[in-house]
């Protein structure tokens, strides 16, 4: 996505020297743990809101707020990040050190074992520390985790939000025949006569899930006209 930098940032980037950007990675796990990792020991505004629960008497109220964490300098490498100008899912990869910690369970391994890292929200930025400005942002989730066999590092595979290929639509044929099983909960028919999945034979028409292609009269006819099967079937499970 095109991004317009403020004039001050553009002026700063135009200089022949200066500080390089650092990598900031925030992780918010499914179980509600928040981590902030960087390749530098740096404090910066967080981008992922975390819950804050306060109580007054017996009333507990949870609100979401942004924190300004001190990022742990644990990131060994970040990238490559691949972005596209179509609906292909953007991906990225980061490697986190796993050496520090106690000898039984190391830091990242412990996180791995106590938190469901896969599916965690991530927000990655390349951060110009002096300008306090992100020149690149990646918002997504963890799609895969690899732990080195010797426990030295952990690799997170990331994918962006809008991973269309990962949308799970219910398996459903769209056509003139009803896809429901006769007498199932979804069907709801209590008739003793099974249908042949046509509207004409349906005894639970309020739940008929086929496509009605033609009817005659003011009211919906119970007589189904034979239609040829459509030449092109739309399947929502397939990426456009």
């Amino acid at each position: 996505m095109a991004q317009t930098f403020p004039a001050a940032v553009k002026a700063r980037l135009a200089a022949s020297g200066g500080g390089a950007a650092v990598s900031l990675l925030e992780v918010y796990t499914v179980s509600g743990s928040y981590f902030a990792w960087s390749d530098s020991d740096i404090t910066a505004q967080g981008m992922l809101p975390v819950p804050l629960t306060v109580h007054s008497g017996s009333v507990y109220t949870t609100t979401w707020h942004y924190v300004t964490p001190t990022f742990l300098p644990w990131l060994l490498s970040a990238g490559p990040f691949k972005t596209f100008n179509n609906t292909t899912t953007s991906t990225g990869q980061v490697v986190v050190q796993n050496l520090s910690g106690d000898t039984v369970r190391r830091d990242v391994s412990r996180l791995f074992s106590s938190n469901a890292i896969v599916g965690a929200l991530v927000y990655f930025r390349t951060w110009l520390a002096d300008a306090e400005f992100a020149t690149f942002s990646f918002f997504g989730s963890v799609s895969d985790v690899e732990l080195e066999a010797d426990g030295s590092s952990m690799t997170l595979q990331l994918e962006s939000m809008c991973a269309w290929a990962k949308l799970d639509a219910p398996y459903q044929e769209i056509g003139i025949s009803c896809p429901l099983s006769f007498g199932s909960v979804e069907c709801g028919s209590t008739s003793s006569t099974p249908c042949d999945n046509s509207y004409g034979s349906c005894t639970s028409t309020e739940r008929f899930k086929g496509v009605l292609v033609e009817w005659v009269g003011a009211a919906v006819s119970t007589v189904q006209y034979v239609q040829p099967a459509p030449l092109v079937l739309s399947n929502p499970r397939v990426t456009g």
Binding site: A14, A15, G19, S40, I42, D130, F133
Partner: protein, 312 residues
């Protein structure tokens, strides 16, 4: 096991050590590059600071005694996961904190004579020090507000002037004369009639820093931050006073007639790392300009971002 353990204390004789623990002559004092540098085929160099590594010294002890040889080997093992202090006796006694990253191999070359070759001492960042480097004359390096190139004849800021109507101006830091247009050391960032919370920030790799603010009647009050922590609160650029400052800050106002001319902010006691220095505007008008002479009233809120000198 830290900066208080000194490999080669200067008072080694008083400590009862039988032999001079200093390394032999002939080791190189290697500074780390810390820079990513790229150069188009016919273009100028473009650099970015990407690291925070320190110095490294390949040390050797030639024909030393057994106790010194074993001391060096012991320091290697003791501080494999930590750091100790090495004093460079020929570099003004400057302290370095780090550890041996290659094994010192002690060889008995003659009866009672031991030689160690190839002991690589490497400084590590973010470590505390007994004495932080403070030799500004030799180890201080300029970090100008603009870069050296003046592409197209105009100055390019190196400082991130992120909020506020900052412009580049020139000040004769030498105290007299009109500064040369293409002298990058004379450029400062100026925010005239700023809004409160306007800020500008720069970044360097090293230890401490110092910056000298000019004082003037039109100047106002700023806060100074180091790595996001406020180290000088309400520094008045009319007279060089401040409401409070951190213990690591040394403020020094240069007297002048009819009014003080400069205030120097020096911060020495910070470890090697990437550091951020930020000037943030308070919007408060400066106080009394001169102590006794006229004109004495403060008159403005203008903020200044002067060049830095940083220690490496």
């Amino acid at each position: 096991m830290a900066e208080t353990d000194i490999l080669n204390p200067t008072n080694w004789a008083a400590l009862g050590m039988p032999f001079n623990p200093n390394p032999s002559y002939g080791f190189s004092r290697k500074m780390s590059n810390n820079r990513l540098m790229q150069r188009p085929r016919l273009g100028p160099f473009i650099t970015r600071d990407v690291g925070n590594a320190g110095h490294s010294f390949p040390l050797s002890w030639v024909n030393t005694d057994l106790s010194t040889a074993r001391r060096v080997v012991k320091f290697y093992h003791d501080f494999r996961n930590g750091y100790f202090t090495f004093i460079n006796p020929d570099w003004g006694g400057r302290n370095f904190v780090g550890r041996f990253t290659s094994e010192p191999e002690a060889v008995e070359v003659a009866n009672g004579k031991w030689t160690i070759q190839g002991a690589l001492f490497e400084e590590i960042p973010t470590a505390r020090m007994l004495t932080y480097p403070n030799d500004w004359a030799h180890d201080g390096h300029p970090l100008n507000v603009v870069d050296d190139f003046f592409t197209g004849g105009t100055p390019t800021p190196r400082v991130a002037f992120m909020q506020g109507a900052w412009t580049l101006g020139q000040i004769a830091f030498s105290g007299f004369g009109v500064p040369a247009t293409l002298d990058p050391t004379t450029y400062v960032g100026i925010d005239v009639a700023p809004a409160a919370a306007d800020w500008a920030q720069t970044q360097y790799t090293g230890w401490g820093f110092q910056m000298t603010f000019p004082l003037a009647q039109a100047y106002g009050v700023v806060n100074l931050y180091l790595d996001g922590v406020e180290i000088v609160t309400s520094l008045d650029l009319s007279n060089g006073t401040c409401v409070s400052s951190s213990a690591i800050v040394n403020l020094n106002v240069t007297a002048g007639v009819p009014h003080p001319t400069w205030v120097n902010v020096t911060v020495t006691n910070v470890p090697l790392d990437i550091h951020l220095v930020k000037v943030q505007v308070t919007g408060t008008t400066g106080g009394t300009f001169g102590p006794t002479a006229l004109p004495s009233a403060g008159g403005g809120t203008t903020a200044i971002f002067p060049p830095l000198e940083y220690m490496y």
